[in-house]
Amino acid sequence: MPGAPASIGGRVVAVTGACTYLGGELLRRLEEDPRYTRVLALDVRAPSQVGGKIEFVKLDLTQPTVDGELATLLQQAKIDTFVHGAFLSHPTHAAEWAHELEDVGTMHVLNACAAVEPRRFVMVSSTLVYGAHPKNPNFLTEDAELRGHRDSRFVNDKVRAERQVARFASEHPAVEVCVLRFAPILGPTVSNMYTRFFSRVVAPVMMGHDPLMQFVHEQDAAFALAKAVESHATGPFNIIGKGVLPYTTVLALLGRVPVPMPQIVARQLTKMLWATQIVGSPPSFLDFLLYLCVADGSRARNVLGFSPRLSIKRTILDFLGIAPEDGATDIARASV
């Protein structure tokens, strides 16, 4: 094993967003791995995994003085890997707070990392940053433009955070910067915009439109994050599941009732439901039901060494909890 960092007494990792699904799964994997001696879990509340080598430090990235605080903390702990995962999984009506957390919070994190210069910086992002656009090719590679969405603050905050990280990477060549863009994560325990959307009995269908969709299973996603922390690969990576399916086939597999409606009706209806806070998906999400936003995972396969284990159909069945392999989400991986 190329255990170079082990010579200085094991690796020290700091994780922001430790209470997110991916953060928690990462903590659990780092706890089991003897190569890591100390893990700092940074969040506003303590994750359930605290104990052993995992230490919880309360840190609110929306506070204006957090960058100095974080830099001191990182300096004292002598961290060598920083995992930035403090991003929202659901769109929220508190858009200003979300902006403070994702965009400004990333700025604070990068300020602290610029002072400390850890060996490795891993960021959690999403393939939504490519945006659903009629001009998208069937498979978006990592060098595709990050279009975001013209009126989705949920997506655009992530795009801005990614731009900051890209600038940080060019200004600090000594730091290995790795960005993981996850396809929508589906699974029995994870909770995000897509799992809430697909948990409802009815789902809107844009009349005459049926884009291909792509998901990644939660265990595959967690495995990819752990892999990214331990590897030396740099640059952006699309973390995707095996295969694609048309949106209406996804609904049919889930047993949801598709409600076809014209675009203009759907826009007004979603706008109304979003304004009254009845549903959690903003009107801009409808574009993802109209156009393709499917990413290509070959770079993750070739450079990072990650390839998904579960097909999209298995992922959907596992999300429903009706697969015969119910409870089989604890996938034993030979390499981690």
Binding site: N138, F139, L251, A252, L253, K313
Partner: protein
Amino acid sequence: MPDDEDPIIGDGEEDWFGEADPRVPDGRGWADSTARDLDFLGSEFEPPSDPGYTPASLDDAALRELERRVEHNRTPAFPIDLRKRLPLEAVWRRWRALAMWGRSDVVDDFGRDPRATARWEWLFEFLYSRWFRVEATGLENIPDRGRALLVANHAGTLPYDSAMVMHAVRRDHPARRDVRPLVEDTVFHLPWLGPIMNRIGGVRADPANAERLLEKDELVAVFPEGEKGMG
């Protein structure tokens, strides 16, 4: 392990919409579904070979606690919970089977659905042999395998000719190859027509898509005239 086959690594090809699939609850024996739900623990919970061992840890209270913990870790989703309480599984299963009619649960990377293609076959056959009475010549120039690019011009208002090329190769070529036509943007985003074209093999005309198709050794058809040829 009783069998070496990991149930999760399946290729997702098997049809689980069968009439009597014992793995899927059918609503009849829903009362003892709790016991079935815990079946997956079987292999890990083999009792030790010690003769003095009594399975005291698997009494009702422990099982209920285990089940509560399994349920607790799930995303609380209203319809799923409701289905667990009511014997609606049979209805739900029928509904899903009905919704999957005419579509397959595995499509290729670009969205070609074999079952949807078969659904439209009769129409193409009618247009090909009865309506247009197409005569295809030079099919022997198309290789049996490997990448190839078919270049043609459009003839007519609607792109029937690409459908006829597809059908001719699938019908009369010895290798029965599937042609992947590159479809112009405006047609591809037409409501209903676009998704149908995508399901039967059409791909949006984009250099990245064409490159990827050729790398996969597909037979790609392009109509460089584009929109102009459609009158």
